[in-house]
C-alpha cells in the first residue's frame, strides 16, 4: 500500500461513515480540484454511484468555464446537482465589484448563500438527471450532514478541523468547544437544528491531490492548466478575487514537478486568493460564520 492508497482508503471510510449516519446528506462541489477528487472518491466508495446530491454555490462571479464544466460532468455522471445563490444581494448590487469590501462580499455570496441553501430557507435549483431538466425546490429539508473538501495544509484554521465537525443553529463553528474525535470514531450524533461538516480530505496535501488526479486520470477543469498563454489557476474562485499564476504546466505531471522541485515548491497555494489577506492572513473570521 502506498501513501495514496492509504489516503484513499481513509477517505472512503469517512464517506461511507457519513452516508450511513446522516439521512439528509449532501456534498459541496466547488468545481475545483479538491472537491472533484472528493466526487471521484465518492464513486469509488459507492462502486460507481453518487448517492447524495452535490451542492454548488453559484456566486454569479465564477469563472464562466466552471459553470460549463459543472453542467457537462453532471450530465455525464448522472449527478443530482443542487445550485444555491444569493439572488437578493445580487439584485441589490451588494457585491465587491459594486464597492462592497471583499470579506462582506464573501459572506453574502458564499457563506450566506451556503447557509440558507443548506437549511432549505432559500429556493434550490436542482438538476433532475432522470428528466434532464432544471427544477426549483422550495422549502427543501435541511441537510444535516455536509461533505466538504477542505484540506489541513491550506491555511491555519483548517489545520485544526475535526473530520466530523459540528455547526450550530447559526451554521457557526466554535473551534474551542469541539468535542473529541478518537481513532476512526467520529461525531455522528447531532442535536436538532445543527449540522455536521464532514472533511474526508483533511490529511491530503495539494501535492497528494495532483498525484491522485494523475494516477486515477480524473477529468479536471482545464483552468488549472496552461492553455498557451503562460498562465493557469492554482486555486479557483470568483474572477474578481482570484488571480492566475504564471506557469507553463499543461497537465498533472507538470504540476507535480512544479510543486516538488519547481517554482511553487515553497509558495502557498492560496496566494492568489485576495480574501485571505483581507482577513489578516487567516480565514478564521470567515470560517467561524460558515465559510468552507
Amino acid at each position: 500500500m502506498d501513501h495514496l492508497d492509504r489516503l484513499e482508503a481513509q477517505s472512503i471510510y469517512i464517506l461511507r461513515e457519513a452516508y450511513r449516519s446522516f439521512p439528509n446528506l449532501a456534498m459541496l462541489w466547488s468545481i475545483g480540484k479538491d472537491s472533484t477528487v472528493l466526487l471521484w472518491l465518492t464513486r469509488k466508495a459507492f462502486f460507481g454511484h453518487v448517492p447524495y446530491p452535490l451542492v454548488h454555490i453559484d456566486t454569479a462571479f465564477k469563472i464562466p468555464e466552471m459553470i460549463k464544466y459543472r453542467d457537462e460532468i453532471a450530465v455525464q455522471w448522472d449527478l443530482n446537482l443542487v445550485v444555491g445563490q444569493n439572488k437578493e444581494a445580487l439584485a441589490k448590487g451588494e457585491t465587491f465589484v459594486n464597492g462592497l469590501d471583499r470579506l462582506s462580499c464573501c459572506k453574502k455570496l458564499k457563506s450566506d448563500a451556503l447557509k440558507y441553501t443548506l437549511d432549505g430557507t432559500w429556493a434550490r435549483r436542482k438538476w433532475n438527471p432522470y428528466k434532464k431538466v432544471w427544477e426549483d425546490e422550495l422549502n427543501g429539508a435541511p441537510y444535516t450532514g455536509v461533505i466538504v473538501g477542505v484540506r489541513a495544509d491550506e491555511e491555519g484554521s483548517r489545520s485544526k478541523e475535526r473530520v466530523f465537525s459540528a455547526r450550530d443553529e447559526k451554521s457557526e463553528w466554535d473551534a474551542s468547544t469541539q468535542p473529541p474525535e478518537l481513532w476512526n470514531q467520529y461525531k455522528t450524533d447531532f442535536a436538532p437544528r445543527t449540522h455536521v461538516r464532514i472533511h474526508p480530505l483533511l490529511e491530503w496535501t495539494e501535492l497528494n491531490i495532483w498525484e491522485y488526479i494523475q494516477r486515477e486520470n480524473i477529468p479536471i477543469i482545464s483552468l488549472y492548466f496552461d492553455q498557451g498563454n503562460g498562465k493557469r489557476y492554482r486555486s479557483l474562485g470568483c474572477f474578481p478575487c482570484t488571480a492566475p499564476v504564471d506557469s507553463q504546466a499543461r497537465n498533472p505531471k507538470e504540476i507535480i514537478e512544479e510543486l516538488t522541485s519547481g517554482k511553487f515548491k515553497d509558495i502557498a497555494e492560496r496566494s492568489g486568493r485576495a480574501q485571505d489577506k483581507d482577513g489578516g492572513g487567516t480565514l478564521e473570521a470567515l470560517r467561524k460564520e460558515g465559510y468552507m
Binding site: H3, A9, K44, F47, K160, A175, P180
Partner: protein
Amino acid sequence: MQRLNIVITGHVDHGKSTLIGRLLADTDSLPQGKLESVKKMCENNARPFEYAFLLDALADEQKQGITIDSARVFFQSKKREYIIIDAPGHIEFLKNMISGASRAEAALLLIDAKEGVAENSKRHGMLLSLLGIKQVAIVVNKMDLVNFSEIAFTKLKVEYSEYLATLGIKSDIFIPISAREGVNLIEHSASTPWYQGPTVLEILDSFKSVEEKENDDFRMPLQDVYKFTRDNDDRRIYAGTVTSGELNVGDEVVFYPSLKRSRVASIESFNTEVKTSVKESVAVGFTLETQIYVRNGDVVARADQSAPKVSNRFEANLFWLGAKPLELDKPYKIKIGSAQSTIYLEEIKRVIDGDTLDRADEPSVGRHEAACVIFRVHDLLAMELFAENQKLGRFVIVDEYDIAGGGIITEVLDQYTTRRTKALHVNDILVDKASTSAEFEEELFALLRKHFPHQFT
C-alpha cells in the same frame, strides 16, 4: 514517499509549539514569506517574535499565547514526510490533545527542564499508553534555563523514568534540547558536549511506521450493505475496511455475532482492475453467493480462521472527557468497530488520576480522569482484546451527541443473561423491548424476502 503521524505532547508552556515552529524553520519546511510575515506582525504589535506563532494560527491563540486545538503540520525530512500534530498542553483542552494523539503512530513528550515534571507531563504519559502509542521519546526542553546542566537533566530523567515504569512504559530515549535556541534539534550542539545521543530529527526518522501484520486472521467490521438500483445495478455489496488479514474470492465467511455464513462471490471496486483478493487497510466491498441478512457492525471473519470474541460484558481501561461524569447504570452509546449499542457502566474498579493515586469505591468517573471499569452492553458484540487487536479492542462512549470517552478492552467477560438482567435494573426492561424489536425486524425481513424475492436478488 512514506508518511508518519507524530504527536507532540506535554504540559502547557513547556514549549511544544516552539519546538515545531523551530523544526519547520530550520529544515526549510515553511512556505515562502511565512516567517517574515509572522515576524512583521510581531513588530507591528510590538511583541517579541516567537516560533510558536508560526503554528498558533487561530486568532484567539495568538492573543492568549496558548494552543487551543491540535494543528496538523506537514513537514519533511530527507527520509520521509511527517504530519506533526501539535497537541495542546492546557488541561482545558485535553480532549483536543487526545483527538490529536489518537491519530499518531509515535510521540514526543516535552518536559520543561526548569519547571520539571508537571501534572500534565504525567497525565499525557498515561494517556499515550492508554491510546496504545508505544514509540515515545522524552524531550527535555529549555535546557538553556538550567545552563545546560547534565545533573539537572539526569535528575529529571530518573524521576520521569520511575513514573513511566509504574505505567508499564519503558522509554530510555531522553533528549536535552533548547527549542528556542535550536539546540539538538537538527544537529548536535556545543552547549551539551556531555550528550552523545540522537537529535530530535534523528529520533523522528528512527520511529517505525505501524506495520501491517501479514499473518493475522481476517477481520472486517461491516460498515454498510449497499444495493444501488440505479442503471439496473443488482449487486448487493457488503462494504467495510479490512482491519487485518486477507480475503479471497471463494472464501467462506462468518458474520459475528449473528453467525450467518456465506461464500465470497466477487470483490467489487470502481476504476481498478478486477480483484480476487484484498488485504489489511483497504476499503473494500464484496458480494456473496447467497443473500443473507446481516447488520451493520457485525464483524466478518473467515470460516477457516479464528473467530473474534463475542460477549456483552467486558473490562476496560477508560479515560473520560465528558462535561458530565460517567455514571453507573445510565444508558450511553458505545461505538466499536462499525457497531453501535447501548452500554451501561456496571462497576468502577478504580479511578486513576494524573498523579497515579489510585482510588477505589468511587461513584463516578469525572472529567479528565482515567479508570478501570466493567461495562455491560445491550447487544452481543464481536470484540477483541486491545493487546491482541488494537482496532477491534478500542471503543468510544457517546453521551448525548458527543464522544465523551474512549477506552481499550483488557478482558472479555462472561455474558450476562436476561434473567439476571431483569433482577438487576429497571433500565434493562428497555433492553428487552429493544431485543424483541430486533427479532421482529429479522422476521419481517424473512417475510419480505419470501414474498418479494425480486427485491432481494
